[in-house]
Symmetry: C2
Amino acid sequence: MITNKLEALFNPKGIAILGASSDTGKLGYAVARNLIEGGYPGQVHLVNPKGGALFNRPIYKSVLDVPDPVDLAVVIVPAQAAPQAMRDIGTRGIPHAILTSGGFRETGDKGAVLEEEVLSICRDFHIRLIGPNCIGLLDTHLPLDTTFLPPPPPEPGNIAFLSHSGAFCAAIIDWSRQQGFGFSRLVSLGNQADLSETDLLPVIANDPHTRSIALYLESIPHGERFLETARLITQKTPLVVLKVGRTSSGQKAAASHTGALAGTEAAVDAAFKKAGIQRAITSEELFDWARAFACLPLPSGRNVAILTNAGGPGVIAADALSDQKLCLASLDLQTISALRDHLPPAASSQNPIDMLASASPEDYATCLKLLLADQQVQAVLVIIPPSPVFPTVDIAKILVPLIKQTQKPVIPILMGSTLIQQTFQYFNQHEIPTYSFPERAASALARLADRADFLRAREDSSPFEPHFEEQKLSTILSSIQGKTFDPAFGDRLLEAIGIQTAPVRLAATPQEAEQISIELGFPLVAKIASPDILHKSDVGGVLLNLDSSSAVHAAYNKLVTRAREKQPAARINGITLQKQIHAGQEVILGFVRDAHFGPLVMFGSGGIDVEGLRDISFALAPLTRQEAKDLLQQTWAGRKLAGYRNMPPADETAVIDALVNLSWLATKYPQINECEINPLKVLGKGAIAVDVRIKV
Amino acid sequence: MITNKLEALFNPKGIAILGASSDTGKLGYAVARNLIEGGYPGQVHLVNPKGGALFNRPIYKSVLDVPDPVDLAVVIVPAQAAPQAMRDIGTRGIPHAILTSGGFRETGDKGAVLEEEVLSICRDFHIRLIGPNCIGLLDTHLPLDTTFLPPPPPEPGNIAFLSHSGAFCAAIIDWSRQQGFGFSRLVSLGNQADLSETDLLPVIANDPHTRSIALYLESIPHGERFLETARLITQKTPLVVLKVGRTSSGQKAAASHTGALAGTEAAVDAAFKKAGIQRAITSEELFDWARAFACLPLPSGRNVAILTNAGGPGVIAADALSDQKLCLASLDLQTISALRDHLPPAASSQNPIDMLASASPEDYATCLKLLLADQQVQAVLVIIPPSPVFPTVDIAKILVPLIKQTQKPVIPILMGSTLIQQTFQYFNQHEIPTYSFPERAASALARLADRADFLRAREDSSPFEPHFEEQKLSTILSSIQGKTFDPAFGDRLLEAIGIQTAPVRLAATPQEAEQISIELGFPLVAKIASPDILHKSDVGGVLLNLDSSSAVHAAYNKLVTRAREKQPAARINGITLQKQIHAGQEVILGFVRDAHFGPLVMFGSGGIDVEGLRDISFALAPLTRQEAKDLLQQTWAGRKLAGYRNMPPADETAVIDALVNLSWLATKYPQINECEINPLKVLGKGAIAVDVRIKV
């Protein structure tokens, strides 16, 4: 198993430092210092062609001279010397290396060539490599610190952190000290010439000290493999990811920084959703959430009680709950009455429970107990501002056992700094995360609720593969000539996967158009038929409400004339005729293929406003029925299918069927590149695809 | 001037403390301690019926015995004793009081009666009162500290803070110590029996030490007066407001806490926009923004350079710029070339400028100088992670003079805690705000840019009052009978303010309908005419595409039958007929009246999707032309008026005219309660109101 092999990166028996230096200003000194003075229990061997001694041990002139045990090399030599260093490591039979040095792909074409050379040597000698251009890794529990960062290392903790950026790692390690959290394992991945976040995730997830994993990613080139790995891990361990390059400016910056190609952001969001990854948007969220995941139980729902000794922060917290789609729990009458009995008359025994400024630590405990005993309450936010009357640490002391006992998440909000410092430390020592403001606490709590929803949904539903007439589909697909297709092709394809269409007929002459119109009945829609005109309405290529065969004849001539005027080079096959459907709600559905994550299904408001209104939502194929339902709920187009004002309810099931089937078409037939049904007319019973565009 | 009189609250010559206590566990002791030991330079007189001595001075048995000078009383007596205390203060001729004690309106009906009594005594004796139920006020520069909070008081600074919540004040004072900012003046307003935030804002704004003002508000009952005051102040001093009760949960919590009625959130947003107030959504934003406003110049635009020594944080910063609608500045070729000459080859001389980890303090200075000299750069974010090579404080030392010299805002981002502590302090001492992550820095910078936009817009445009035919309008308005009106009323009103309508005619019989249809021409729309049916389409009360007089006759009978079935109690006047307009883009516009802020103009996507899509925007009347243009830009309905795909451009000017005129109708005729034009059909030239609903 690859997992077991890479575990040695975090738990090596012996380490050789190539480039160890007795010059205290050099990184090669700092790495030796951190490994030797940091308490790493294995062997540390120093290597430098100059020889000498450091920390009371010899410096070997070559790694070939290093005695056993040694199964990891840390390399901090000039880039030009790296290939020879890797060859020596290979010759000495060391299976793992961290190439800390910079000067490779990140510096341009010459560096990229050098990186390729290093990688090729690693492949030859079966060395698995972290880096180059990284700060190495840490395991705080062993402990192991291969970085050159100034001590102290981060506090031992239960959050693992993998980062594409070394500087961000260094900053976060320093920041974490003040925030009161620590790390289990930490890896700076650098250029990922060999090992990427996807390779290391399983090792990290297997670490018994790791209870949540935070990732900082600049790109996800092997999207499908990452997704698969993440899906397995999130069944047990929560994953929080800050994926940067979300915006056009960010993508520009990331491209110049890493040279990596950006995937579409909609695909990243959809992939994270499918894998149960929580996507942080800010640096603070990444760790606010990871801390909650590492230490708190998941709530059974989104109903939250707020316990406070001051009204104002209670209102801030209530707003924050709403912002995060959490609810103020409606307390049981019994709870309200018990709270009323205990609290002074001016207090509020409704949620938020405002005990007033006079509240003692015992009041906090009594009220928290009552709230936790209430079945309506699924989580509690406890607000603790600096008190002029009681030492707030006494509140912590009395609450900690209650918080540790309960299966419901309870989050203390400590508003202040110096006056609540002792309280902050007390909660920290007991591994209870605290937040300085209600907004950050509510944001973390909401992610716990999201994860609970995700785990429930995963239990409830497994993807169901619909039965397609494979033979028929293959015949249709093989009939395609060139890039686009005859107008009936899309309809035949949709019908083969069970999506109803309005019959479309091609007429090559005005006379044929008249004949077909009589067969189809009125009213009719006529559209220009051309493989070169995709957006027909842009060239005036659509005519509605044709109610006689003579109108159809006239329409033929009008459409062809217009098309010839506007797009003289377009091949024109005639016009298509289709029964006009007045009834029903209009929606758009379809799929595209993302370069990194594969087929991406889309659903939303159709028509020409689709780009402007952005009432549209995405999910990765294949879809479960629940995922299809979620797509409906995420858009106004989907929500109003249930009926709205004088608009009658439309057939949601037909839309869900269509989405699921379309998602399987995308999954099983990679030769279909893109498909868009716009509009699908959703009737009281059934749904009809009126127009479909397919790219093969 | 009221302003000058209330100034004495912050700069009294002498203070009497009613309820001063030698019991160190009591708040009456803490207030005396803070005033006497905190260095307040005026006289402090202690009062308690028990007499005695404290801090080497006598405790007077009555405030009547207190010698001159005394122009402020701080009262911390039991609520029941407050009326007599206020009478004594009045008798002694003290013009200002702070009633710290709780036990009033916040505790229920009995407390409210007591509060009324206190207020009435204040009115009788011309005492201006802060409180009750508050923690008092501070001026850190005098210094003056009337609170009972444990020392030390907040650091002197240039941010003023007014708060409806005492607990939030106390928490923020403590929090500010760690964040490295101080306050000029700070007021806890409590129940605001007499003085509110609106009364105190002018005094605070006149304080020479105050450079920005932060407010925490739970309600704004005197909305129009607040707005007027704020508009005057924001010309000179930036205002940042955290107004809670934004959400349904928050409103519920605020109502149970303060009993105040919530205004509509759209009105609050519109009012803040009109007054140039920056609305914070989180507690951290409130002070992140206030700090930037207090210390930094405003940028001349939204083009920002990012200077970093690490790629990752540069990408985070670029994303954050986009999120905040700021741009990555495109550097002058000259700047790029100078950067390239100075930096190592692997560095990035494009924005974000990545100097690489080897960057020295001198490199930071050289690059910052080049960026500041570039006309394309209007602001700079400087990212400073902990460096393993250079002490980061050296970067601060070399950058501070540059940042102080330039007219462009430069924000250092200090990522870390202990390793950058000294650097943090150095910037702080020089009044340069720093942020721990790019996201928070970008958010603050964007508010500076917003304020610059606001000040420019205020210079550019003044509201222009259109000329209405007042006589005609008055005649129409006086003709209204009852709550609703005959169908032509709205049209006449719109035409009187220059908005074109499609003539609507009322037919009381099928025969009359036929006759009118011939006069109007075809196609026609028929609608049920009833003062009791507002949403006509909900009862099937609209028929389209009537193309002959016989169709109109049949429509009459059908509409009346339907209406009688669905709403038997409705009075039915017949049907209305109107020429059907096929062309044009559909928008909705109108106004409602907010209880606190007055008339609120709305614009957006019309039709029945208006509630679901929420493509709608609001602004307070009256509108300038620029504000009307902004309403268009804030919605898709407005943006696509410029033309979109095969949709031809529509007459934006006609919509702007209609919005401005409607806003003045709302401003000048308060008897019109509500008005909604849905839809306004916007043609290539002109716009026609097809349907209008008015409530008088």
